[in-house]
Protein backbone atom coordinates (compact mmCIF):
# COMPACT_ATOMS: atom_id res chain seq x y z
CA UNK A 1 0.00 0.00 0.00
CA UNK A 2 2.69 2.45 1.05
CA UNK A 3 4.65 1.52 -2.02
CA UNK A 4 1.89 2.51 -4.39
CA UNK A 5 1.52 5.95 -2.76
CA UNK A 6 5.19 6.74 -3.01
CA UNK A 7 5.19 5.63 -6.63
CA UNK A 8 2.25 7.89 -7.40
CA UNK A 9 3.88 10.96 -5.85
CA UNK A 10 7.15 10.24 -7.58
CA UNK A 11 5.46 10.28 -10.94
CA UNK A 12 3.30 13.35 -10.20
CA UNK A 13 5.89 15.61 -8.59
CA UNK A 14 8.00 16.82 -11.56
CA UNK A 15 4.87 17.91 -13.35
CA UNK A 16 3.86 20.45 -10.69
CA UNK A 17 6.93 22.70 -10.70
CA UNK A 18 8.14 24.58 -13.79
CA UNK A 19 11.67 23.56 -14.79
CA UNK A 20 14.25 25.99 -13.38
CA UNK A 21 16.30 25.89 -16.54
CA UNK A 22 13.64 27.81 -18.43
CA UNK A 23 14.31 30.92 -16.29
CA UNK A 24 10.69 31.71 -15.60
CA UNK A 25 11.11 31.96 -11.82
CA UNK A 26 10.28 35.23 -10.05
CA UNK A 27 13.26 37.62 -10.30
CA UNK A 28 12.72 38.99 -6.75
CA UNK A 29 14.02 35.89 -4.98
CA UNK A 30 16.99 35.45 -7.27
CA UNK A 31 20.49 36.50 -6.25
CA UNK A 32 21.97 38.91 -8.77
CA UNK A 33 25.68 39.37 -9.30
CA UNK A 34 25.50 42.82 -7.70
CA UNK A 35 23.67 41.75 -4.55
CA UNK A 36 26.00 38.76 -4.21
CA UNK A 37 29.02 41.06 -4.08
CA UNK A 38 27.45 43.48 -1.62
CA UNK A 39 26.55 40.61 0.70
CA UNK A 40 30.03 39.24 0.25
CA UNK A 41 31.64 42.55 1.26
CA UNK A 42 29.33 42.91 4.25
CA UNK A 43 30.27 39.40 5.28
CA UNK A 44 33.97 40.09 4.98
CA UNK A 45 33.69 43.40 6.85
CA UNK A 46 31.84 41.65 9.66
CA UNK A 47 34.50 38.95 9.75
CA UNK A 48 37.35 41.46 9.87
CA UNK A 49 35.58 43.50 12.55
CA UNK A 50 34.93 40.42 14.68
CA UNK A 51 38.52 39.24 14.31
CA UNK A 52 39.88 42.70 15.11
CA UNK A 53 37.59 42.92 18.11
CA UNK A 54 38.78 39.57 19.35
CA UNK A 55 42.44 40.52 19.06
CA UNK A 56 41.75 43.80 20.87
CA UNK A 57 40.11 41.80 23.65
CA UNK A 58 43.09 39.47 23.71
CA UNK A 59 45.49 42.39 24.11
CA UNK A 60 43.41 44.04 26.82
CA UNK A 61 43.12 40.71 28.61
CA UNK A 62 46.77 41.00 29.64
CA UNK A 63 46.19 44.20 31.62
CA UNK A 64 44.10 43.31 34.69
CA UNK A 65 41.95 45.91 36.45
CA UNK A 66 43.06 44.97 39.95
CA UNK A 67 46.66 44.43 40.98
CA UNK A 68 47.48 42.59 44.19
CA UNK A 69 50.52 44.73 44.82
CA UNK A 70 51.36 47.19 47.61
CA UNK A 71 49.74 50.59 47.02
CA UNK A 72 51.86 53.31 45.47
CA UNK A 73 50.88 55.99 48.00
CA UNK A 74 51.06 55.27 51.70
CA UNK A 75 51.24 56.91 55.14
CA UNK A 76 54.64 56.45 56.76
CA UNK A 77 53.93 57.65 60.32
CA UNK A 78 55.05 60.91 61.94
CA UNK A 79 58.36 62.71 61.32
CA UNK A 80 59.31 62.07 64.96
CA UNK A 81 59.30 58.34 64.23
CA UNK A 82 62.53 58.82 62.29
CA UNK A 83 65.90 59.40 63.93
CA UNK A 84 68.18 62.13 62.63
CA UNK A 85 71.17 60.69 60.79
CA UNK A 86 69.61 57.23 60.34
CA UNK A 87 68.55 55.32 57.24
CA UNK A 88 65.19 53.77 58.06
CA UNK A 89 64.66 50.24 56.72
CA UNK A 90 61.09 49.58 57.90
CA UNK A 91 59.42 50.16 54.47
CA UNK A 92 62.12 48.51 52.38
CA UNK A 93 60.46 45.15 51.88
CA UNK A 94 56.87 46.30 51.65
CA UNK A 95 57.09 49.47 49.58
CA UNK A 96 60.67 49.50 48.29
CA UNK A 97 61.80 52.78 49.88
CA UNK A 98 64.32 54.02 52.44
CA UNK A 99 63.31 57.00 54.52
CA UNK A 100 66.35 59.06 55.52
CA UNK A 101 66.31 61.89 58.04
CA UNK A 102 69.12 64.43 58.34
CA UNK A 103 69.45 67.74 60.22
CA UNK A 104 67.40 69.63 57.63
CA UNK A 105 64.59 67.18 57.01
CA UNK A 106 63.42 63.88 55.49
CA UNK A 107 63.69 62.37 52.02
CA UNK A 108 62.56 59.08 50.48
CA UNK A 109 64.99 57.02 48.40
CA UNK A 110 63.97 54.33 45.95
CA UNK A 111 65.50 50.90 46.66
CA UNK A 112 65.85 50.21 42.93
CA UNK A 113 69.46 50.30 41.78
CA UNK A 114 69.86 52.63 38.81
CA UNK A 115 72.13 50.14 37.08
CA UNK A 116 69.85 47.18 36.36
CA UNK A 117 67.15 47.32 39.00
CA UNK A 118 68.37 45.11 41.85
CA UNK A 119 67.92 46.13 45.49
CA UNK A 120 71.06 47.45 47.25
CA UNK A 121 71.71 46.91 50.98
CA UNK A 122 72.35 49.68 53.50
CA UNK A 123 75.72 49.06 55.16
CA UNK A 124 75.61 51.27 58.25
CA UNK A 125 79.24 50.59 59.21
CA UNK A 126 80.43 51.88 55.85
CA UNK A 127 77.64 54.45 55.55
CA UNK A 128 76.75 53.45 52.01
CA UNK A 129 74.19 51.57 49.92
CA UNK A 130 75.84 48.61 48.22
CA UNK A 131 74.18 46.65 45.43
CA UNK A 132 74.83 42.86 45.60
CA UNK A 133 74.33 42.30 41.87
CA UNK A 134 77.15 44.31 40.30
CA UNK A 135 78.66 46.27 43.17
CA UNK A 136 77.24 49.75 42.65
CA UNK A 137 77.68 52.01 45.68
CA UNK A 138 75.63 55.04 46.74
CA UNK A 139 76.12 57.60 49.50
CA UNK A 140 73.43 58.16 52.09
CA UNK A 141 72.13 60.98 49.90
CA UNK A 142 71.61 58.54 47.03
CA UNK A 143 74.51 59.86 44.95
CA UNK A 144 76.38 57.08 43.14
CA UNK A 145 80.13 56.89 43.69
CA UNK A 146 81.31 53.39 42.69
CA UNK A 147 80.39 50.50 40.42
CA UNK A 148 78.42 50.57 37.19
CA UNK A 149 75.38 52.61 38.32
CA UNK A 150 75.14 55.54 35.88
CA UNK A 151 73.08 57.92 38.03
CA UNK A 152 71.95 58.53 41.62
CA UNK A 153 69.07 56.68 43.26
CA UNK A 154 65.68 58.21 42.61
CA UNK A 155 63.71 60.02 45.31
CA UNK A 156 59.95 59.94 45.75
CA UNK A 157 57.44 62.60 46.62
CA UNK A 158 57.10 63.23 50.38
CA UNK A 159 54.53 65.59 51.93
CA UNK A 160 52.75 66.01 55.26
CA UNK A 161 49.07 65.11 55.61
CA UNK A 162 46.63 67.26 57.58
CA UNK A 163 47.00 64.99 60.61
CA UNK A 164 50.77 65.49 60.62
CA UNK A 165 51.62 62.10 59.12
CA UNK A 166 54.09 61.64 56.29
CA UNK A 167 52.61 60.70 52.92
CA UNK A 168 54.93 59.01 50.43
CA UNK A 169 53.81 59.02 46.80
CA UNK A 170 55.81 56.65 44.64
CA UNK A 171 54.10 57.64 41.41
CA UNK A 172 56.02 60.91 41.50
CA UNK A 173 59.79 60.50 41.25
CA UNK A 174 62.63 63.02 41.36
CA UNK A 175 65.97 62.51 39.63
CA UNK A 176 69.08 64.33 40.79
CA UNK A 177 70.66 64.50 37.32
CA UNK A 178 67.60 66.40 36.09
CA UNK A 179 67.85 68.87 38.96
CA UNK A 180 64.56 67.64 40.41
CA UNK A 181 65.85 67.12 43.96
CA UNK A 182 65.39 70.85 44.56
CA UNK A 183 61.65 70.41 44.11
CA UNK A 184 59.83 71.25 47.38
CA UNK A 185 58.00 67.90 47.26
CA UNK A 186 61.25 65.91 46.99
CA UNK A 187 62.33 66.92 50.50
CA UNK A 188 60.33 67.42 53.69
CA UNK A 189 61.74 70.21 55.86
CA UNK A 190 61.33 69.40 59.54
Amino acid sequence: MAETISKESATKDPGRRPPAALGKADSSDQITRRSFFSWLSIGWLAFVAATGGFFTMMLRFFFPNVLFEPVQTFRAGYPDDYTVGEVDLRWKNKYGVWIVRNDAGIYVLSTTCTHLGCTPNWLSSEQKFKCPCHGSGFFKTGINFEGPAPRPLERFKIVLADDGQIIVDKTRKFQQEKGQWNDPEAFLKV
Binding site: F62, F63, P64, L67, F68, E69, G96, L116, G117, C118, C133
Partner: protein, 256 residues
Protein backbone atom coordinates in the same frame (compact mmCIF):
# COMPACT_ATOMS: atom_id res chain seq x y z
CA UNK B 1 53.36 -14.58 8.95
CA UNK B 2 54.65 -11.05 8.49
CA UNK B 3 53.62 -11.10 4.87
CA UNK B 4 50.15 -12.16 5.90
CA UNK B 5 49.95 -9.23 8.29
CA UNK B 6 51.05 -6.91 5.51
CA UNK B 7 48.07 -8.04 3.50
CA UNK B 8 45.51 -7.10 6.13
CA UNK B 9 43.30 -4.06 5.86
CA UNK B 10 44.68 -2.77 9.15
CA UNK B 11 48.24 -2.66 7.81
CA UNK B 12 47.30 -1.30 4.41
CA UNK B 13 45.15 1.47 5.87
CA UNK B 14 48.08 2.70 7.96
CA UNK B 15 50.93 2.22 5.48
CA UNK B 16 49.89 3.27 2.00
CA UNK B 17 51.48 1.62 -1.00
CA UNK B 18 51.79 -1.70 0.77
CA UNK B 19 54.62 -4.16 0.85
CA UNK B 20 58.33 -3.67 1.23
CA UNK B 21 59.46 -0.85 -1.07
CA UNK B 22 61.52 -2.40 -3.85
CA UNK B 23 62.05 0.21 -6.49
CA UNK B 24 63.57 3.66 -6.00
CA UNK B 25 60.16 5.15 -6.71
CA UNK B 26 58.50 3.05 -4.00
CA UNK B 27 61.13 4.08 -1.47
CA UNK B 28 60.49 7.69 -2.37
CA UNK B 29 56.76 7.23 -1.93
CA UNK B 30 57.27 5.89 1.60
CA UNK B 31 58.89 9.20 2.58
CA UNK B 32 56.41 11.35 0.73
CA UNK B 33 53.38 9.57 2.17
CA UNK B 34 54.37 9.92 5.81
CA UNK B 35 53.43 13.15 7.58
CA UNK B 36 56.58 12.93 9.68
CA UNK B 37 59.05 11.79 7.04
CA UNK B 38 57.81 14.14 4.34
CA UNK B 39 59.37 17.09 6.16
CA UNK B 40 62.69 15.44 5.51
CA UNK B 41 64.39 15.36 2.08
CA UNK B 42 63.74 12.19 0.10
CA UNK B 43 67.31 11.88 -1.06
CA UNK B 44 70.54 13.15 0.41
CA UNK B 45 73.74 13.72 -1.51
CA UNK B 46 76.44 11.56 0.06
CA UNK B 47 78.83 14.43 0.71
CA UNK B 48 76.12 16.58 2.34
CA UNK B 49 75.91 14.37 5.40
CA UNK B 50 79.62 14.55 6.12
CA UNK B 51 79.98 15.41 9.78
CA UNK B 52 82.92 17.63 8.87
CA UNK B 53 80.59 19.78 6.80
CA UNK B 54 77.28 19.85 8.71
CA UNK B 55 78.54 19.34 12.29
CA UNK B 56 75.05 17.81 12.72
CA UNK B 57 74.19 20.83 14.84
CA UNK B 58 70.71 21.31 13.38
CA UNK B 59 69.85 17.68 13.98
CA UNK B 60 71.30 17.80 17.48
CA UNK B 61 69.28 20.91 18.27
CA UNK B 62 66.10 19.10 17.26
CA UNK B 63 67.12 16.01 19.22
CA UNK B 64 67.74 18.10 22.34
CA UNK B 65 64.44 19.85 21.77
CA UNK B 66 62.71 16.46 21.91
CA UNK B 67 64.55 15.59 25.14
CA UNK B 68 63.54 18.94 26.62
CA UNK B 69 59.91 18.42 25.62
CA UNK B 70 59.72 15.00 27.25
CA UNK B 71 61.64 15.93 30.41
CA UNK B 72 59.70 19.20 30.64
CA UNK B 73 56.35 17.41 30.52
CA UNK B 74 57.58 15.06 33.25
CA UNK B 75 58.60 18.02 35.43
CA UNK B 76 55.13 19.53 35.02
CA UNK B 77 53.68 16.61 36.98
CA UNK B 78 55.38 17.88 40.14
CA UNK B 79 56.04 21.60 39.68
CA UNK B 80 53.44 24.14 40.85
CA UNK B 81 53.97 27.69 39.53
CA UNK B 82 53.12 29.64 42.68
CA UNK B 83 55.40 31.61 44.98
CA UNK B 84 54.42 29.33 47.85
CA UNK B 85 55.41 26.05 46.16
CA UNK B 86 57.70 26.73 43.18
CA UNK B 87 61.06 26.67 44.95
CA UNK B 88 60.15 23.76 47.24
CA UNK B 89 58.90 21.73 44.30
CA UNK B 90 62.23 22.18 42.55
CA UNK B 91 64.06 20.96 45.66
CA UNK B 92 61.55 18.11 45.94
CA UNK B 93 62.17 17.19 42.31
CA UNK B 94 65.90 17.01 42.90
CA UNK B 95 65.89 15.22 46.25
CA UNK B 96 62.72 13.15 46.70
CA UNK B 97 61.23 12.32 43.32
CA UNK B 98 62.61 9.13 41.71
CA UNK B 99 65.12 9.92 38.98
CA UNK B 100 65.68 13.41 40.34
CA UNK B 101 68.15 13.77 37.52
CA UNK B 102 65.18 14.68 35.30
CA UNK B 103 65.38 18.28 36.40
CA UNK B 104 69.12 18.35 35.65
CA UNK B 105 68.46 16.79 32.25
CA UNK B 106 66.06 19.62 31.50
CA UNK B 107 68.39 22.29 32.80
CA UNK B 108 71.57 21.08 31.12
CA UNK B 109 69.63 20.20 27.99
CA UNK B 110 68.46 23.80 27.83
CA UNK B 111 72.05 25.03 28.04
CA UNK B 112 73.10 22.53 25.40
CA UNK B 113 70.32 23.52 23.02
CA UNK B 114 71.29 27.19 23.17
CA UNK B 115 74.87 26.20 22.36
CA UNK B 116 73.97 23.86 19.49
CA UNK B 117 71.58 26.41 17.97
CA UNK B 118 74.34 29.02 17.99
CA UNK B 119 76.83 26.57 16.50
CA UNK B 120 74.29 25.55 13.86
CA UNK B 121 73.87 29.19 12.90
CA UNK B 122 77.65 29.61 12.83
CA UNK B 123 78.05 26.58 10.56
CA UNK B 124 75.30 27.76 8.22
CA UNK B 125 76.95 31.16 8.02
CA UNK B 126 80.48 29.84 7.46
CA UNK B 127 79.37 27.45 4.71
CA UNK B 128 77.35 30.18 3.00
CA UNK B 129 74.18 28.13 3.32
CA UNK B 130 72.12 31.25 3.95
CA UNK B 131 72.49 32.33 0.31
CA UNK B 132 69.64 32.09 -2.23
CA UNK B 133 67.55 30.00 -2.55
CA UNK B 134 67.85 29.45 1.21
CA UNK B 135 67.58 33.09 2.37
CA UNK B 136 64.00 32.68 3.63
CA UNK B 137 64.96 29.63 5.66
CA UNK B 138 67.78 31.64 7.21
CA UNK B 139 65.21 34.22 8.31
CA UNK B 140 63.07 31.48 9.86
CA UNK B 141 66.21 30.21 11.56
CA UNK B 142 66.79 33.63 13.12
CA UNK B 143 63.24 33.51 14.52
CA UNK B 144 63.96 30.02 15.87
CA UNK B 145 67.11 31.32 17.58
CA UNK B 146 65.07 34.10 19.18
CA UNK B 147 62.42 31.61 20.33
CA UNK B 148 65.12 29.33 21.78
CA UNK B 149 66.54 32.23 23.76
CA UNK B 150 63.05 33.26 24.94
CA UNK B 151 62.34 29.70 26.08
CA UNK B 152 65.62 29.75 27.97
CA UNK B 153 64.76 33.13 29.48
CA UNK B 154 61.24 32.17 30.59
CA UNK B 155 62.49 28.87 32.05
CA UNK B 156 65.11 30.74 34.06
CA UNK B 157 62.49 32.27 36.39
CA UNK B 158 60.66 29.06 37.27
CA UNK B 159 62.96 27.80 40.11
CA UNK B 160 62.03 31.06 41.89
CA UNK B 161 65.32 31.38 43.76
CA UNK B 162 67.29 34.59 44.26
CA UNK B 163 69.27 34.07 41.07
CA UNK B 164 66.09 33.63 39.03
CA UNK B 165 64.18 36.55 40.51
CA UNK B 166 66.98 39.06 40.09
CA UNK B 167 68.04 37.80 36.70
CA UNK B 168 64.50 38.25 35.39
CA UNK B 169 64.21 41.59 37.18
CA UNK B 170 67.28 42.77 35.32
CA UNK B 171 66.17 41.16 32.07
CA UNK B 172 62.65 42.52 32.12
CA UNK B 173 63.92 45.98 33.06
CA UNK B 174 65.37 46.16 29.56
CA UNK B 175 61.80 46.06 28.27
CA UNK B 176 61.22 49.42 29.96
CA UNK B 177 63.38 51.00 27.27
CA UNK B 178 61.47 49.52 24.30
CA UNK B 179 60.77 52.29 21.77
CA UNK B 180 57.13 53.50 22.00
CA UNK B 181 55.97 50.48 24.05
CA UNK B 182 58.20 50.80 27.13
CA UNK B 183 57.49 53.60 29.60
CA UNK B 184 61.14 54.69 29.70
CA UNK B 185 61.81 54.16 26.01
CA UNK B 186 62.05 56.78 23.28
CA UNK B 187 58.68 57.89 21.97
CA UNK B 188 56.77 56.68 25.04
CA UNK B 189 55.53 60.23 25.64
CA UNK B 190 54.02 60.50 22.16
CA UNK B 191 50.98 58.43 23.05
CA UNK B 192 49.36 60.88 25.44
CA UNK B 193 46.38 63.18 25.68
CA UNK B 194 47.37 66.31 27.55
CA UNK B 195 48.82 65.24 30.88
CA UNK B 196 47.48 61.71 30.69
CA UNK B 197 50.18 59.34 29.51
CA UNK B 198 49.00 56.01 28.20
CA UNK B 199 52.36 54.26 28.34
CA UNK B 200 53.12 54.10 32.06
CA UNK B 201 54.70 51.59 34.41
CA UNK B 202 51.27 49.99 34.73
CA UNK B 203 50.48 49.70 31.03
CA UNK B 204 53.64 49.19 29.00
CA UNK B 205 55.14 46.14 27.34
CA UNK B 206 57.06 45.14 30.48
CA UNK B 207 53.79 45.09 32.40
CA UNK B 208 52.28 42.79 29.78
CA UNK B 209 55.25 40.46 30.20
CA UNK B 210 55.39 40.20 33.99
CA UNK B 211 51.75 41.00 34.78
CA UNK B 212 52.55 43.66 37.35
CA UNK B 213 54.83 46.51 38.23
CA UNK B 214 57.20 44.24 40.15
CA UNK B 215 58.39 40.67 39.92
CA UNK B 216 55.77 38.57 41.67
CA UNK B 217 53.11 35.87 41.50
CA UNK B 218 51.75 37.10 38.17
CA UNK B 219 55.19 37.11 36.57
CA UNK B 220 55.83 33.53 37.64
CA UNK B 221 52.52 32.33 36.22
CA UNK B 222 52.91 34.22 32.95
CA UNK B 223 56.43 32.90 32.43
CA UNK B 224 55.24 29.39 33.25
CA UNK B 225 52.45 29.51 30.66
CA UNK B 226 54.76 31.03 28.05
CA UNK B 227 57.46 28.47 28.81
CA UNK B 228 55.24 25.38 28.77
CA UNK B 229 52.54 26.23 26.22
CA UNK B 230 52.95 29.50 24.34
CA UNK B 231 56.53 29.45 23.10
CA UNK B 232 56.79 25.67 22.44
CA UNK B 233 53.61 25.92 20.33
CA UNK B 234 55.08 28.74 18.23
CA UNK B 235 58.53 27.16 17.93
CA UNK B 236 57.05 23.88 16.68
CA UNK B 237 55.23 25.66 13.86
CA UNK B 238 58.43 27.44 12.85
CA UNK B 239 60.46 24.22 13.13
CA UNK B 240 58.06 22.38 10.82
CA UNK B 241 58.40 25.12 8.21
CA UNK B 242 62.17 25.22 8.74
CA UNK B 243 62.63 21.48 8.08
CA UNK B 244 60.20 21.44 5.19
CA UNK B 245 61.94 24.38 3.55
CA UNK B 246 65.29 22.57 3.65
CA UNK B 247 63.76 20.03 1.30
CA UNK B 248 61.96 22.63 -0.81
CA UNK B 249 65.08 24.79 -1.15
CA UNK B 250 67.10 21.94 -2.61
CA UNK B 251 68.18 19.95 0.42
CA UNK B 252 71.18 20.47 2.63
CA UNK B 253 73.66 22.72 0.91
CA UNK B 254 76.67 20.90 -0.49
CA UNK B 255 80.35 21.71 -0.12
CA UNK B 256 81.68 23.81 -2.97
Amino acid sequence: MLDKFRGTQLYKSIFRGGGVPKSRRQRMMVVLNSVFLHLHPVRLPKHAVKLKFTWCMGGLSFFIFLILTISGILLMFYYRPTIEYAYNDIIDLAEQVPFGIMREVHRWGAHAMVITVWLHMFRVFMTGSYKPPREFNWAIGVVLLLLTLLLSFTGYLLPWDQLAIWAITVGSNMARATPFLGHEGPGAGLLAIGDINFITMGSDVRFALIGGRFMGEAALLRFYVLHCIGLPFIIMIFMAVHFWRIRKDGGISTPV
